[in-house]
Assembly symmetry: C2
Homo-oligomer: 137 residues x 2
Protein backbone atom coordinates (compact mmCIF):
# COMPACT_ATOMS: atom_id res chain seq x y z
CA UNK A 1 0.00 0.00 0.00
CA UNK A 2 2.93 2.35 0.68
CA UNK A 3 6.21 2.79 -1.07
CA UNK A 4 9.47 1.74 0.51
CA UNK A 5 10.11 5.33 1.56
CA UNK A 6 7.40 7.57 3.02
CA UNK A 7 5.70 9.86 0.51
CA UNK A 8 6.17 13.12 2.28
CA UNK A 9 4.86 16.61 1.73
CA UNK A 10 6.08 18.01 5.06
CA UNK A 11 9.33 17.28 6.93
CA UNK A 12 9.39 13.79 8.51
CA UNK A 13 11.27 14.91 11.59
CA UNK A 14 12.82 12.96 14.42
CA UNK A 15 12.17 9.62 16.10
CA UNK A 16 9.38 10.03 18.66
CA UNK A 17 9.96 8.97 22.26
CA UNK A 18 9.51 5.30 23.04
CA UNK A 19 8.01 6.45 26.32
CA UNK A 20 4.82 7.65 24.59
CA UNK A 21 4.78 5.60 21.38
CA UNK A 22 5.01 1.91 20.43
CA UNK A 23 6.98 1.08 17.28
CA UNK A 24 8.65 3.34 14.73
CA UNK A 25 7.17 6.85 14.80
CA UNK A 26 8.67 10.07 13.44
CA UNK A 27 7.31 13.51 14.26
CA UNK A 28 8.05 17.02 13.03
CA UNK A 29 6.72 20.23 14.57
CA UNK A 30 5.30 22.47 11.84
CA UNK A 31 4.00 25.04 14.32
CA UNK A 32 5.13 25.07 17.92
CA UNK A 33 2.54 26.16 20.41
CA UNK A 34 2.73 29.93 20.47
CA UNK A 35 0.92 32.89 21.90
CA UNK A 36 -0.14 34.20 18.47
CA UNK A 37 -2.30 31.27 17.33
CA UNK A 38 -2.67 29.14 20.50
CA UNK A 39 -2.23 26.20 18.18
CA UNK A 40 0.27 23.37 17.64
CA UNK A 41 0.65 21.49 14.36
CA UNK A 42 2.81 18.49 13.69
CA UNK A 43 3.43 15.96 10.95
CA UNK A 44 3.62 12.38 12.22
CA UNK A 45 4.57 9.20 10.34
CA UNK A 46 3.79 5.80 11.87
CA UNK A 47 5.35 2.66 10.38
CA UNK A 48 3.23 -0.52 10.21
CA UNK A 49 2.02 -1.52 13.69
CA UNK A 50 3.21 1.71 15.35
CA UNK A 51 0.86 3.78 17.52
CA UNK A 52 0.62 6.36 20.29
CA UNK A 53 -0.01 5.50 23.91
CA UNK A 54 -3.48 6.23 25.21
CA UNK A 55 -3.68 9.99 25.83
CA UNK A 56 -5.93 13.03 26.16
CA UNK A 57 -5.81 16.65 24.96
CA UNK A 58 -7.43 19.36 27.15
CA UNK A 59 -8.73 21.10 23.98
CA UNK A 60 -9.06 18.05 21.74
CA UNK A 61 -7.21 17.22 18.55
CA UNK A 62 -7.86 17.20 14.80
CA UNK A 63 -6.10 14.73 12.50
CA UNK A 64 -5.80 15.19 8.72
CA UNK A 65 -4.72 11.87 7.22
CA UNK A 66 -2.24 12.56 4.39
CA UNK A 67 -1.13 9.10 3.37
CA UNK A 68 -1.75 5.42 4.04
CA UNK A 69 -4.17 3.70 6.36
CA UNK A 70 -4.31 3.82 10.14
CA UNK A 71 -6.29 2.85 13.17
CA UNK A 72 -7.67 4.94 16.00
CA UNK A 73 -9.95 4.51 18.97
CA UNK A 74 -11.73 6.59 21.56
CA UNK A 75 -12.06 4.75 24.90
CA UNK A 76 -15.31 2.79 25.00
CA UNK A 77 -15.81 2.93 21.23
CA UNK A 78 -14.70 0.40 18.57
CA UNK A 79 -11.31 0.63 16.86
CA UNK A 80 -11.85 2.47 13.57
CA UNK A 81 -9.92 2.56 10.31
CA UNK A 82 -8.76 5.94 8.98
CA UNK A 83 -7.51 6.59 5.45
CA UNK A 84 -5.79 9.34 3.46
CA UNK A 85 -8.20 12.24 2.93
CA UNK A 86 -10.13 11.72 6.15
CA UNK A 87 -10.39 14.15 9.05
CA UNK A 88 -10.60 12.65 12.53
CA UNK A 89 -11.79 14.56 15.61
CA UNK A 90 -10.96 13.75 19.22
CA UNK A 91 -13.05 15.89 21.61
CA UNK A 92 -11.44 17.64 24.58
CA UNK A 93 -10.33 15.18 27.27
CA UNK A 94 -11.48 12.11 25.30
CA UNK A 95 -9.05 9.28 26.03
CA UNK A 96 -7.82 7.92 22.68
CA UNK A 97 -4.97 6.54 20.58
CA UNK A 98 -4.00 6.57 16.88
CA UNK A 99 -1.44 4.92 14.67
CA UNK A 100 -0.70 2.95 11.51
CA UNK A 101 -2.59 -0.20 10.60
CA UNK A 102 -0.72 -3.53 10.79
CA UNK A 103 -0.49 -3.54 6.96
CA UNK A 104 0.30 0.08 6.11
CA UNK A 105 2.39 3.08 7.02
CA UNK A 106 0.26 6.13 7.91
CA UNK A 107 1.07 9.86 7.91
CA UNK A 108 -1.16 12.50 9.46
CA UNK A 109 -1.11 16.16 10.32
CA UNK A 110 -2.16 16.68 13.97
CA UNK A 111 -3.68 20.01 14.96
CA UNK A 112 -4.07 20.95 18.61
CA UNK A 113 -6.21 24.08 19.02
CA UNK A 114 -6.52 26.26 22.12
CA UNK A 115 -3.22 25.10 23.58
CA UNK A 116 -3.41 27.74 26.30
CA UNK A 117 -5.31 24.97 28.14
CA UNK A 118 -2.42 22.52 27.68
CA UNK A 119 -1.21 20.11 25.01
CA UNK A 120 -1.35 16.46 26.02
CA UNK A 121 -1.62 14.06 28.96
CA UNK A 122 0.14 10.77 28.22
CA UNK A 123 -1.18 7.51 29.67
CA UNK A 124 -0.61 3.73 29.40
CA UNK A 125 0.55 1.83 26.30
CA UNK A 126 -1.94 0.46 23.77
CA UNK A 127 -1.50 -3.29 24.21
CA UNK A 128 -1.30 -5.69 21.24
CA UNK A 129 -4.69 -7.04 22.32
CA UNK A 130 -6.26 -3.55 22.20
CA UNK A 131 -4.51 -2.71 18.91
CA UNK A 132 -5.71 -5.85 17.12
CA UNK A 133 -9.24 -5.73 18.54
CA UNK A 134 -10.94 -4.70 15.28
CA UNK A 135 -14.52 -5.84 14.84
CA UNK A 136 -15.04 -7.20 11.33
CA UNK A 137 -18.62 -6.60 10.31
Amino acid sequence: MNDQNPKTIFPIGEQASGEYFTGDVKASYLLTDDSLFQCSIFNVTFEKGARTNWHTHPSGQILLVLDGEGLCQIKGEPVRIMKAGEIILFPPNAEHWHGASPQSRMTHIAINPNTEKGLVEWMQRVTDEEYHNIKVE
Copy 2:
Protein backbone atom coordinates in the same frame (compact mmCIF):
# COMPACT_ATOMS: atom_id res chain seq x y z
CA MET B 1 4.36 21.19 -12.76
CA ASN B 2 0.85 19.89 -12.11
CA ASP B 3 -1.15 17.15 -13.75
CA GLN B 4 -4.19 17.91 -15.83
CA ASN B 5 -6.41 17.05 -12.87
CA PRO B 6 -5.64 18.22 -9.34
CA LYS B 7 -3.80 15.69 -7.18
CA THR B 8 -6.13 15.65 -4.24
CA ILE B 9 -5.94 14.14 -0.82
CA PHE B 10 -9.00 15.93 0.56
CA PRO B 11 -12.30 16.76 -1.18
CA ILE B 12 -11.98 19.54 -3.78
CA GLY B 13 -15.37 21.05 -3.01
CA GLU B 14 -17.33 23.76 -4.74
CA GLN B 15 -16.52 26.81 -6.85
CA ALA B 16 -15.62 29.71 -4.53
CA SER B 17 -17.50 33.01 -4.86
CA GLY B 18 -16.29 35.41 -7.56
CA GLU B 19 -17.03 38.15 -5.06
CA TYR B 20 -14.04 37.22 -2.92
CA PHE B 21 -11.77 35.40 -5.40
CA THR B 22 -10.26 36.11 -8.82
CA GLY B 23 -10.07 33.15 -11.21
CA ASP B 24 -10.93 29.49 -10.73
CA VAL B 25 -10.92 28.55 -7.04
CA LYS B 26 -12.55 25.54 -5.39
CA ALA B 27 -12.98 25.18 -1.64
CA SER B 28 -14.13 22.43 0.66
CA TYR B 29 -14.84 22.78 4.38
CA LEU B 30 -13.13 20.02 6.30
CA LEU B 31 -14.12 21.42 9.69
CA THR B 32 -16.78 24.07 10.03
CA ASP B 33 -16.25 26.56 12.81
CA ASP B 34 -17.70 24.92 15.89
CA SER B 35 -17.89 25.47 19.62
CA LEU B 36 -15.81 22.37 20.39
CA PHE B 37 -12.53 23.37 18.69
CA GLN B 38 -13.03 27.09 17.83
CA CYS B 39 -11.32 26.24 14.58
CA SER B 40 -12.16 26.16 10.87
CA ILE B 41 -10.26 24.08 8.33
CA PHE B 42 -10.68 24.09 4.60
CA ASN B 43 -9.03 22.65 1.53
CA VAL B 44 -8.62 25.19 -1.28
CA THR B 45 -7.43 24.65 -4.87
CA PHE B 46 -6.42 27.64 -7.00
CA GLU B 47 -5.93 27.20 -10.75
CA LYS B 48 -3.08 29.11 -12.44
CA GLY B 49 -3.45 32.86 -11.87
CA ALA B 50 -6.28 32.50 -9.33
CA ARG B 51 -6.12 34.23 -5.93
CA THR B 52 -8.10 35.54 -2.99
CA ASN B 53 -9.07 39.17 -2.55
CA TRP B 54 -7.13 41.09 0.06
CA HIS B 55 -8.50 40.07 3.47
CA THR B 56 -7.84 39.79 7.19
CA HIS B 57 -8.57 37.20 9.89
CA PRO B 58 -9.20 38.41 13.46
CA SER B 59 -7.19 35.45 14.83
CA GLY B 60 -4.83 34.97 11.90
CA GLN B 61 -4.51 32.02 9.53
CA ILE B 62 -2.15 29.09 8.96
CA LEU B 63 -1.65 27.62 5.47
CA LEU B 64 -0.21 24.15 4.82
CA VAL B 65 0.73 23.94 1.13
CA LEU B 66 -0.14 20.45 -0.14
CA ASP B 67 0.59 20.71 -3.84
CA GLY B 68 1.98 23.03 -6.51
CA GLU B 69 3.38 26.52 -6.22
CA GLY B 70 1.63 29.70 -5.16
CA LEU B 71 2.09 33.33 -4.29
CA CYS B 72 1.16 35.26 -1.18
CA GLN B 73 1.71 38.70 0.26
CA ILE B 74 1.21 40.58 3.49
CA LYS B 75 0.47 44.27 2.90
CA GLY B 76 3.70 46.27 2.83
CA GLU B 77 5.88 43.20 2.30
CA PRO B 78 7.11 41.67 -0.99
CA VAL B 79 5.12 39.01 -2.84
CA ARG B 80 6.54 35.64 -1.82
CA ILE B 81 6.52 32.22 -3.44
CA MET B 82 5.09 29.28 -1.47
CA LYS B 83 5.57 25.62 -2.36
CA ALA B 84 4.24 22.21 -1.36
CA GLY B 85 5.51 21.31 2.11
CA GLU B 86 5.67 24.89 3.38
CA ILE B 87 3.68 26.38 6.25
CA ILE B 88 2.66 30.02 5.92
CA LEU B 89 1.51 32.19 8.83
CA PHE B 90 -0.65 35.31 8.59
CA PRO B 91 -0.81 37.10 11.96
CA PRO B 92 -4.13 38.32 13.38
CA ASN B 93 -5.52 41.28 11.40
CA ALA B 94 -2.62 41.30 8.90
CA GLU B 95 -4.01 42.31 5.49
CA HIS B 96 -2.94 39.66 2.98
CA TRP B 97 -3.76 37.53 -0.06
CA HIS B 98 -2.78 34.10 -1.37
CA GLY B 99 -3.25 32.09 -4.54
CA ALA B 100 -1.67 30.03 -7.30
CA SER B 101 1.34 31.22 -9.26
CA PRO B 102 0.83 32.19 -12.91
CA GLN B 103 2.50 28.88 -13.94
CA SER B 104 1.08 26.36 -11.48
CA ARG B 105 -2.04 25.17 -9.75
CA MET B 106 -1.73 25.32 -5.94
CA THR B 107 -3.63 23.48 -3.20
CA HIS B 108 -3.46 24.39 0.48
CA ILE B 109 -5.12 23.54 3.75
CA ALA B 110 -6.21 26.73 5.55
CA ILE B 111 -6.55 26.64 9.32
CA ASN B 112 -8.31 29.44 11.18
CA PRO B 113 -7.80 29.16 14.94
CA ASN B 114 -9.77 30.94 17.66
CA THR B 115 -12.77 31.56 15.43
CA GLU B 116 -14.80 32.80 18.39
CA LYS B 117 -13.25 36.17 17.42
CA GLY B 118 -14.55 35.87 13.84
CA LEU B 119 -13.45 34.23 10.60
CA VAL B 120 -12.63 36.69 7.82
CA GLU B 121 -13.02 40.29 6.63
CA TRP B 122 -13.03 40.50 2.83
CA MET B 123 -11.57 43.54 1.06
CA GLN B 124 -10.65 44.73 -2.44
CA ARG B 125 -9.47 42.57 -5.33
CA VAL B 126 -5.77 41.83 -5.90
CA THR B 127 -5.10 43.65 -9.15
CA ASP B 128 -3.06 42.11 -11.97
CA GLU B 129 -0.38 44.71 -11.21
CA GLU B 130 -0.20 43.64 -7.55
CA TYR B 131 -0.30 39.93 -8.47
CA HIS B 132 2.57 40.17 -10.95
CA ASN B 133 4.71 42.47 -8.80
CA ILE B 134 7.33 39.86 -7.87
CA LYS B 135 10.81 41.16 -7.18
CA VAL B 136 13.40 38.99 -8.91
CA GLU B 137 16.61 39.10 -6.90
